[in-house]
Symmetry: C2
Subunit: 588 residues, 2 copies
Amino acid sequence: MFRTNTCGELRLADAGKKVTLAGWVQRVRKMGGMTFLDLRDRYGITQVVFEQTSDSALNEAANHLGREYVVQVTGTVAERESKNAKNPTGDIEIIADSLRVLNPSEVPPFTIEDESDGGDDLRMKFRYLDLRRNPVRRNLELRHRMTMETRRYLDSKGFLEIETPMLVGSTPEGARDFVVPSRMNPGQFYALPQSPQTLKQLLMVSGMDRYFQIVKCFRDEDLRADRQPEFTQIDCEMSFIEQNDVLELFEGMAKHLFKEIRGIELTEPFIRMPWADAMKYYGSDKPDLRFGMKFVEVDDILKGHGFSVFDNAAYIGGIVAKGAAGYTRKQLDALTDFVKRPQIGAKGLVYARVAEDGSVKSSVDKFYDQETLKALAAKMQAEPGDLILIMSGDDVMRTRKQLCELRLEMGRQLGLRDKNKFACLWVVDFPMFEWSDEEQRLMAMHHPFTHPKDEDIPLLDTDPAAVRADAYDMVINGVEVGGGSIRIHDAALQAKMFEILGFTPEKAQEQFGFLMNAFKYGAPPHGGLAYGLDRWVSLFAGLDSIRDCIAFPKNNSGRDVMLDAPAALDQKQLDELCLELAPEKEEK
Amino acid sequence: MFRTNTCGELRLADAGKKVTLAGWVQRVRKMGGMTFLDLRDRYGITQVVFEQTSDSALNEAANHLGREYVVQVTGTVAERESKNAKNPTGDIEIIADSLRVLNPSEVPPFTIEDESDGGDDLRMKFRYLDLRRNPVRRNLELRHRMTMETRRYLDSKGFLEIETPMLVGSTPEGARDFVVPSRMNPGQFYALPQSPQTLKQLLMVSGMDRYFQIVKCFRDEDLRADRQPEFTQIDCEMSFIEQNDVLELFEGMAKHLFKEIRGIELTEPFIRMPWADAMKYYGSDKPDLRFGMKFVEVDDILKGHGFSVFDNAAYIGGIVAKGAAGYTRKQLDALTDFVKRPQIGAKGLVYARVAEDGSVKSSVDKFYDQETLKALAAKMQAEPGDLILIMSGDDVMRTRKQLCELRLEMGRQLGLRDKNKFACLWVVDFPMFEWSDEEQRLMAMHHPFTHPKDEDIPLLDTDPAAVRADAYDMVINGVEVGGGSIRIHDAALQAKMFEILGFTPEKAQEQFGFLMNAFKYGAPPHGGLAYGLDRWVSLFAGLDSIRDCIAFPKNNSGRDVMLDAPAALDQKQLDELCLELAPEKEEK
């Protein structure tokens, strides 16, 4: 037996016990005739003492231990003289009487501490050492607990976890697929699933009633900080339900997770905000409701005063930053620069400070008299000491999105985006379609199987762009953690949908034939949703990037720098797959 | 709301309640003025009655329902006159007062009954309909419960489920990889993991202490009935353990699953049978211990009597089939044909019947006197009424394997392989190496990281072929459900292992460099195992093939006939991946 106890479990009540521990050398300190070893494992750190007077050879051996050596120590638990209240094992220490080096270690390339001196690249290359650090390990522990609790909740609600295949067919619609050449079917390829969407719908046709799966999905997209080529979804689908059933059940799951994982009891129902309101008041389909700063549209007040920027704008709206009237000119210039950055692309920013006496001082005073500015402050419910920030533009939606960026930045600057506070809502009633300039046609905003709202079905013939869908997103702190929809189960409605999306019946059959055929044999009403597990764990862990809740993530070029993958194949492997590398790329 | 209850939950106590059910039409029977509808969902079948006298239009509508229509029925729960004790809802029926067709259905291509009239090909093409059948659905429910209980057990033992990547590097050693071309790294490929073996070892280096994952793995091998290109593993690894710790913990898991899933309490410790004994007594490293028929070696008795087949044999051994002395000549000839089939390849079979008076009558009586035959019967503990079956050959191991096939066939014929009886054991002390005629060198039987038994380490220098490993398999009813080993954590021992396996240090570095480098930084002693989930579920479900516990399996050509995958790619996709199809294969 390698150990009687872990390095995290011994307490004062264990004093006097003979124990054996095993773990890694966190550090060794020599103090007079004593050597102190901090022994670490996943469960904690226990202090081990080697006394020179009682066994000088043993003490000498301890002095030669290096950082990250793997050792086994036997000794007696004793009460510490100077206790460490910060460490759960801090009341005791082990008086060692034997020491065995199980494995030595080279000096690690960075320190195994909460705040490491390793840069990102080094940490990723030696990820197995990075994972020894408490903050990274804790993220994986959190992830484990979240998936356990998710499964426990869904199982208690009658959901079956059913594995769908990883080697499926490629669908040209949607994002780019990763593909897998088939050796047994030369010239043909599998695709890795972007999501089990169609398969879970088939499971509803098969009467599985309630399905879920925590499953890897794949998208071959150019990567950003919060994207990975492979990611994990909590994928769910239910039959014989309406939108409200889905929202209630999964709101219950979110509350269960908040309670079990974060110890937060959310008692209020989640707000259900129509997409149109989310855009109007927050300029985003995933508003961060940890703070207010709701948009106020002020065209009525600010137009017609000779300020041509506003007079010609299609949209004028603003936010009130409470108590920020003290912002300096320099701070305000920085905000202007912020909204003018190419990523945001606004032309500028108008501000107005509300003084203690109620007077309003703006950056466009020469166009507006005090009466108008006071009317502005009144409409925006700005009070003395507040800062008003106004943006305008000739494209309503684009300007709202710019104002959204400003709102989020002000929320950040004013400390209103506390990572330990959570604001959850459902965004509902998404538009069914969005216009694609590239394709010059309406595209499905969610996917072509999304059910339109019953009351909007007549609009499919007259004004399809105005049709709203039974589609919904769960948003927490400005992050879309999940989303889904009620699906069409009626063949005639599905055919009409394909027609609006510009599919010929032949093309629809070619791309979605297997699903449409299945629907001929008694498809039940159904719907569901999918959560991005990586994002949700990041949110619970308070991380800025999803990478630190993934054991072995890939970098922005899709590379695993630890494994050094992808890599060239042996010619033999290519031959077996009947593949050749295209000549023009072989130089690369 | 689509339903107040499922089709499986109403009981006599619900009589008088107004309910709404939804589901599929299992069948409709018209009897006089009544129409009976069996309404089915995942949870059961409920009988619905439409009375012509009370609502003739409604009754007429019910008469027009086809099989597999999806309908919603509202009515009142009533006690049935003629109850059906076989159906949990058989005490009640619903007196319908409204009926709504949610979706019609074409006539399904095969019957949705426990015993379907659909052949394998049709069932696979319309798998979504096949899954509506009780026996198939129950397999998926069993699979769900097994994974839930596996996770619950491992979580309770401190294991963390950690997801390892699906896009990894290709390793030329081992089985053939499925590969994934990288668009962002042209000319380079990821591989899909054959198992997370090296990654879980890295997680041990990272101090995760106890890891598990229920995870898809991939092998591009030619397929057999019990192989799928993608399969699911319960993959586990632990640190600071010895072999006994692993066996005890996972024996506990098996017992937990037997109890929770099958209601079987296994109280005895699993037998731990050395590999050498398994081969000697059962001719197999996965003996089926539901029945005896242990091999008895009888060279000492049967050699030297002038029967040249035996006199020249390297091995003579037999089994006793209890009570099978009545086997006819025809049955015995069939057994001889059985062992002579090319898959088994034996030259023949000698039999001897023990008569009621204790006399022995054999097929080789002209070589053996009664005294010798009685000595044979005595050594084999054959009793009156028993049948002795003897095989011989010039290759000991090959003959044992042939005798194993005969033993299993006799077990089958005598009804000793009851699918509801379970015999579990550990096979331990596997050989470290096996000789490869193809490669003309020793190969690792398990993998190159397997730890040799401590007491055999000296043999590495003198007689490597005799070295036994700390490797173990869990065997249930002749099926290897899982296996694993203690891993080498010592760099010098690992180097010696590579040397014996014929790796130059450079080649070892090239293929396993990332793992060997990791081991320089303090690898703990560790080991683990992996279970084949598909096989284990099949065993619990009493299935002959793993396919029926997989929602969407592939056929023997690796095709998903429902999705029609794999398939040709668009040229655009090939171009993006910088790939060309090899010309000689393009005609295919």
